[in-house]
């Protein structure tokens, strides 16, 4: 257990400065940074707003300035469905091609996982495009377990992208004879992958 102030002070300088500026409850002891963010200040009263801090807490990702800046540059355009529906994000890949990707927030009614519907379209992008898209979806869904269903011959690219984050990979032959594979990917380290890429 640490105090809210201790948790905030441990973060990277820019993030720490922001959190300490927002802090209203410095001495409260909490078990994690995410609880400290929850209890350390009133989200409503911040310039970032309630939704921003809610996404940060659910996704358990604190975007440092470079990432935040790049996410903005991608200019993701979001189309939101009603509760329990899907979301679509359209954006421009690094090669200039514009795509729209849909993800299902709760196809299994599980509060930890979500699915990206047409993941193969996303594979047209660069590694950076894919990582930033996934970071955005983690923010939007508040979930960090991604499930995808792709053609088996795309496995190599997926392994290059997520080699140490694959929880399971399950090849199968579909009812129309296609060779497919379902993968579950843990996105808890997506931010560190981005950091490595940017460095």
């Amino acid at each position: 257990m640490k105090t809210v102030k201790q948790w905030f002070e441990e973060q990277e300088p820019e993030i720490a400065a922001l959190l300490l500026k927002r802090m209203r409850n410095p001495t409260r002891k909490t078990e994690s940074l995410w609880v400290a963010i929850d209890l350390g200040f009133n989200w409503e009263g911040t310039p970032e707003g309630h939704n921003y801090w809610s996404m940060v807490k659910n996704a358990q990702i604190l975007p440092f300035s470079d990432i935040d800046k790049t996410i903005k540059e991608y200019n993701f355009s979001e189309k939101e469905s009603k509760e329990a529906g899907n979301k679509s994000l359209s954006f421009k890949l690094s090669n200039g091609y514009k795509i729209e990707i849909t993800f299902s927030i709760s196809p299994f009614g599980n509060c930890q996982n979500f699915a990206i519907s047409n993941f193969e379209n996303l594979l047209q992008g660069s590694d950076k495009d894919i990582y930033f898209f996934l970071l955005k979806t983690v923010f939007l869904s508040g979930k960090r377990l991604l499930i995808i269903d792709i053609k088996y011959n795309r496995l190599e690219r997926i392994k290059n992208l997520f080699n140490d984050c694959i929880i399971f990979e399950q090849p199968y032959e579909s009812t129309n004879g296609s060779k497919m594979i379902i993968l579950m990917i843990k996105l808890t380290t997506i931010q560190s992958k981005i950091k490595q890429l940017l460095n």
Partner: protein, 203 residues
């Protein structure tokens, strides 16, 4: 301690059937005895008998009045009930569909499925599959899934359930299971994902 449903299932007929018909699976949690299960098992005010009737049963800790009421109702002729469950499917946002179902014995509930979680023309998913398992027995689960298959027009079903339901799912779907993958979730829950080929599912 047992869950509400277990307490109700242990009762003699017709008390068991009536309680299970009234039982609301969303009222979760274990109960120390039958009477605690009666309080926590369903909303008394939303039953045909009404809140006062159940309050009297609870106070007297006896189901005699319920049995009497059932006898009276049974004397009235009832229409022939169908052997299969009935389902109604309604559109939900985008690729989601809400299914309301009711079995002749009164078991009823609802769930939703996702027509295209991966935009794959061969598979679909049912959300919160454990809720079906809580309400239906093995045979009813198969009957229900077969009806859903006809509506979806896809044969590969994906479900994601807690580890505690694995034995039950294995028993129900047997050789129809194409694969199952056990995994530990990001909140440390022990989970399991199944793909089931409904073309191989026998009633």
């Amino acid at each position: 301690m047992k869950v509400t449903r277990q307490w109700f299932e242990e009762q003699p007929s017709p008390i068991r059937e009536i309680l299970l018909e009234r039982y609301n699976p969303s009222f979760l949690g274990e109960r120390k005895d039958l009477w605690a299960a009666l309080i926590g098992g369903f909303d008394w005010s939303k039953t045909p008998e009404g809140e006062i009737f159940w309050r009297n049963i609870y106070d007297s800790q006896s189901f005699n009045s319920l049995v009497e009421l059932h006898k009276t109702n049974s004397l009235q002729s009832q229409p022939q009930k169908p052997l299969q469950p009935t389902i109604t499917v309604s559109n939900y946002p985008d690729w989601y569909r809400m299914v309301n179902f009711k079995f002749p014995n009164g078991y009823s509930g609802k769930f939703y499925y996702c027509v295209g979680p991966f935009m794959n023309c061969q598979n679909f998913s049912i959300a919160a599959f454990n809720q079906i398992l809580e309400v239906c027995n093995d045979k009813q689960t198969i009957e229900l899934i077969n009806l859903v298959k006809v509506k979806v027009e896809k044969a590969l079903l994906l479900i994601d359930i807690n580890h505690s339901y694995i034995n039950r799912v294995d028993k129900i779907f047997k050789e129809s299971v194409m694969f199952k993958n056990e995994y530990k979730s990001t909140n440390n829950s022990e989970m399991c994902m199944y793909m089931i080929n409904l073309n191989n599912l026998k009633s």
